[in-house]
């Protein structure tokens, strides 16, 4: 067990806890910088992880730090993506202006959603954001002059300040820059009075209010900031998928974002990123598993006879290729995480860390939850 003894204020103000932590992050950064040389084939997938990381960051600010659960974040992503593409392709504005515009428009949308949210708590808010997302999806479908409607809208490759960034590696670095900027901004914001106020609202609205936190201002600002991050992510996302259609930004995508936040671990920036890696890589893993599992099954049944092996292969193969399986698997993972690891991957990581740093004195009870009875949220 190692204690950090702080001797100066600069130590307290620094972004990192100590030099060791800073060096680890530097190592990670260097690793990410040389990654394009190591796995050039998978760079597109890794860029998607970065974009999802930005989305996770956005939802983490809202759900994990301010305690406002949004079931409609895909709508902000959609607004950001369409605004950006409309600005750079139909209006001919520069790329960076497009991104800025996307952030601005989404944050205005965020405020619009956030204002009625002041009167709602808990589940009502989730339902309202869900309704908002469904309305936006319909608007994206019907407003054909701007969005192209159901026919969709092709997206050009990004050109920033006259530099063509359409290659895999260039786009990878573009996403990386945005992710790091987002992380740095969010990390610092959360240490500022604004961030502290958000956390206070999450923990108890009444307590925060009586300590002088202006609920209206901080709830709306959380919505606006989260939506703006989503707008930037949307701009990148548009270039990543290369073709916009309204049905991409469905409720299922919003649920995937929530899955990301829950699986990663609520209330930690690390969690947002862990969750992004998980959600972006899961479909890849599933499609790999689809090819592998039938073979395993036949190997398992193989000793009981050649025909049994072949039959098992066919049956399992048919089962895993059913189309509806994937969302169910997502659901299953979500349920298992909420039941058995509510702190998410980051929570598990902390437990392992603590186990080693306090070795042989680790107690299971450290993380055990208190027995809770139902607390009425009707009386808030």
């Amino acid at each position: 067990m190692r204690f950090i003894f702080k001797t100066s204020y600069t130590q307290d103000l620094g972004i990192f806890r100590d030099d060791v932590q800073r060096n680890w992050y530097l190592a990670l950064l260097i690793g990410l910088l040389v990654l394009p040389l190591l796995i050039p084939a998978y760079l597109v997938d890794v860029s998607l992880v970065f974009i999802y990381g930005l989305c996770g960051l956005s939802l983490m600010v809202l759900a994990g730090y301010t305690g406002l659960v949004s079931l409609g974040h895909a709508a902000f992503l959609g607004i950001g993506a369409y605004t950006h593409v409309y600005a750079i392709q139909d209006l001919g504005l520069p790329w960076i202006v497009g991104v800025a515009l996307a952030c601005m428009v989404t944050s205005v949308a965020g405020v619009l959603v956030g204002l009625p949210a002041l009167r709602m708590t808990g589940v009502y808010l989730s339902i309202a954001t869900l309704a908002f997302a469904l309305i936006i999806q319909e608007v994206l479908t019907r407003w054909e002059r701007v969005t192209g409607g159901l026919k969709g809208k092709p997206v050009d490759k990004p050109v920033v300040f006259g530099v063509y960034l359409g290659g895999d590696a260039a786009f990878y670095f573009l996403c990386l820059v945005f992710l790091i900027a987002g992380l740095w901004l969010t990390g610092n914001l959360l240490r500022s009075p604004t961030g502290r106020a958000w956390v206070a609202i999450r923990d108890s609205e009444i307590a925060a209010q009586s300590m002088g936190v202006n609920l209206a201002v901080y709830k709306t600002s959380a919505f606006a900031y989260s939506a703006a991050l989503m707008g930037a992510a949307g701009a990148l996302f548009a270039h990543k998928i290369g073709f916009l259609a309204p049905d991409i930004f469905s409720v299922l995508l919003s649920i995937q974002f929530l899955l990301m936040v829950v699986v990663g671990g609520l209330g930690s920036l690390h969690g947002a990123f862990f969750g992004a890696v998980f959600v972006a890589m899961l479909p890849v893993a599933i499609s790999q598993a689809r090819d592998l599992i039938p073979a395993w099954a036949s190997a398992l049944v193989g000793p009981f006879g050649k025909d049994a092996g072949a039959a098992a292969f066919l049956a399992v193969d048919q089962f895993v290729k059913k189309p509806g399986l994937e969302p169910g698997l997502f659901g299953l993972i979500l349920v298992l995480f909420i039941l058995f690891e509510p702190l998410g991957i980051y929570g598990r990581w902390r437990k392992i860390q603590l186990y080693f740093s306090t070795f042989p004195l680790y107690k299971r009870a450290t993380f055990r939850r208190q027995k809770a009875y139902m607390r009425s949220e009707r009386l808030r």
Binding site: Y124, I127, A128, L134, I135, S210, I255, G324, I333, R378
Partner: protein
């Protein structure tokens, strides 16, 4: 249509009243109910009424089992995790239905199909009559159950204060399971009633989203409110389909939902109390 929204909303309200959980999987329970009934009627050749009873019993039991095994664990945790949990469960149900019954679209034959009565010069199909009659009966029954029977009162007590109810000798866990069973059963009935009007497929559950609007409009936690809210939403949808440009019909329910939440979050019949410190 409005009555169906009302019925699904009723399911939400029941669970919310009793356990303060919001069940996002309600629409998917409805879908399961419709599929179960279809399976009995068409695959096994059981009569319509027997199949209805079987479907309600099966889905009700399933709801109770769900509560006993999974949802009981999250009581007392933040609502967020419950919302996520039920969303996850809904996804699992949909996936299960598509594996078990396939993703084709089915029609359920009923004794009411293709018959109509003329009421005051307007032909009213028996399917719609069955929906309305079923809804009114069910609502009356549930209302009476909660107001006049001992078990119903015990459920209300359990929902108001778990611990106090437990000290009074009410088997709170059993009550919660019972509530889930009733709510799932109501969803199954709604599914079976809906089946002849809109065909059965795995996306039937998305009707649950519109039922949310109904539940919120009526005030989450009020049984007559859910019904009135459902009928209102149904009417609004119908009228906006007739008088407003195309596309408004699908979002009308959500627009109403947002407006209600912004203007009067407690709905038409709901109550919101503020904690005093």
């Amino acid at each position: 249509m409005g009555c169906i929204y009302g019925l699904v909303a009723l399911g939400f309200v029941l669970i919310y009243k009793a356990t303060e959980l919001v069940n996002f999987a309600q629409g998917d329970l409805l879908m399961l109910g419709a599929f179960t009934c279809y399976m009995f009627v068409v695959w096994y050749g059981v009569g319509y009424w027997t199949a209805l009873a079987l479907a309600v019993a099966l889905v009700g039991l399933f709801g109770a089992a769900l509560d006993a095994t999974i949802l009981r664990r999250v009581i007392g945790q933040p609502q967020f995790s419950v919302v996520m949990l039920t969303i996850g469960l809904g996804a699992i149900f949909r996936s299960f239905a598509s594996i078990a019954w396939g993703s084709e679209i089915y029609t359920l034959p009923t004794p009411f199909s293709a018959r109509a009565t003329r009421v005051a010069g307007v032909a009213v199909s028996h399917e719609y009559v069955s929906i309305i009659v079923g809804t009114v009966l069910l609502c009356g029954l549930l209302y009476a159950f909660f107001t006049f029977t001992r078990v119903g009162l015990a459920m209300q007590a359990a929902s108001q204060n778990q611990l106090a109810a437990y000290y009074m000798g009410i088997p709170v866990k059993l009550m919660f399971s019972l509530i889930w069973a009733i709510s799932a059963g109501v969803a199954a009935i709604a599914g079976v009633l809906l089946a002849p009007v809109s065909l059965i497929d795995i996306n039937l559950g998305f009707i649950g989203l519109k039922a949310f609007a109904a539940a919120v409009l009526g005030g989450f936690g009020s049984i007559p409110g859910a019904l009135v809210g459902g009928i209102t939403i149904g009417l609004i949808e119908l009228l906006s389909g007739a008088y407003l440009p195309q596309g408004f019909k699908d979002v009308a329910a959500y627009v109403v939902l947002l407006v209600v939440l912004a203007v009067r979050p407690q709905g038409m019949f709901g109550r919101i109390a503020r904690k005093k410190v």
